[in-house]
Amino acid sequence: MNNKDLMLQHPLAKYLRQERMPHIWCEGCGNGILLNSFLEALDELQLDLDNIVVISGIGCIGRAAGYVNVDSFHTTHGRAIPFATGVKLANPQLKVVVISGDGDLFAIGGNHFIHAARRNVDIKVICANNFNYGMTGGQYGPTTPLEAWTTTTPYGNIEHPFNLVHLAAASGAVYAARWTTLQVRRLKASIKKALQKEGFSLIEVISPCPEIYDRYNKLGTAVEVMKWFKLVSEVHKAYDPAKAVITKNRIIIGEFVDIEKPSYGRLLREMTAQVKEDLEGENTK
């Protein structure tokens, strides 16, 4: 069978815009694994693809929206979450997923992240965290570890990184989980869970960046980075997110937050119904 026919036989073929494959991501980049897990989650849940919207920001992973065969939008840098907020509120039937990177979501878009989490807007944020700005050639960002070498930290990074799951928890997310691209089964299960849950969810995916960040920091090949993930990952359930700081020797993975809280959309609809009811009551008086 030739490659084209084989592509169509791939179990996830119908979820991809095949004409845009292969994607732009480098060899060994974790973005493809993240996308793969997301599509598997969609497949297993058998959701109506017409009701799913994938929104991304700018950066390598920003191209993800364009590869998924659902309604999708590639916004400006950092603005995927407020755009998604507008989409979700305007049409509550839609399942709205933001797939973007650590720089996009937590530096330029950081304010939007905390406020969407605080409001508990029913959107699912899947963040590829590769510890740097890959698209622009490897500059430091809000998740770059202390002392790491990037093109804009030529003497080593002197900024403290964000702990994303802690930030999500503190901001009010109802679900926050972290996995590496090695735990594909758990990652998929997590995405499925978030998709079925009401409220603001963050799934952080620690991802190799073999061509840029990992190479600059002499972390080895993509396989070696994945092996490092295996070595240092510790699975916990309901671990205190405040203590889940990522270090060279330990990456705490698992679900950190899994709570129930009414979403913004639900409260908005309830309020609107009440306002209308009250008005009608007054009018008939």
Binding site: N3, Q9, H10, L12, G28, N36, L182, K188
Partner: protein, 99 residues
């Protein structure tokens, strides 16, 4: 007691049989990250020496019979370039087809 002594052959092994896999590699999509080769629990894949049009050496199937159909290769492939299909059950299977 050593762990070996705890290990036993399942009683219904003869009846159930093992799945038989068909592994497909979409060679042109592969960028050569080797995740599928490295993380296959059964070491079914190996790096080939045939350069694809993207300048990578895609994996080749060296031991299809040993594939447990866990589909970890499918899930970990960033390129959607490998997948497995359950072809039929091996001898000992009741129906010979996927249940």
């Amino acid at each position: 007691m050593t762990p070996q002594k705890l290990w036993r052959k399942p009683l219904d092994a003869e009846k159930i049989g093992l799945p038989k896999a068909e592994i497909h590699v979409i060679t042109d999509l592969c960028k050569g990250c080797d995740f599928c080769i490295e993380f296959c629990p059964k070491k079914v894949l190996e790096k080939s020496n045939k350069l694809n049009k993207r300048g990578a050496y895609p994996p080749k199937v060296v031991d299809e019979d040993n594939c447990a159909l866990c589909s970890f290769c499918t899930a970990i492939c960033p390129e959607f370039a490998v997948f497995t299909i359950e072809k039929e059950r091996r001898e000992g299977s009741e129906s010979g087809e996927k249940q």
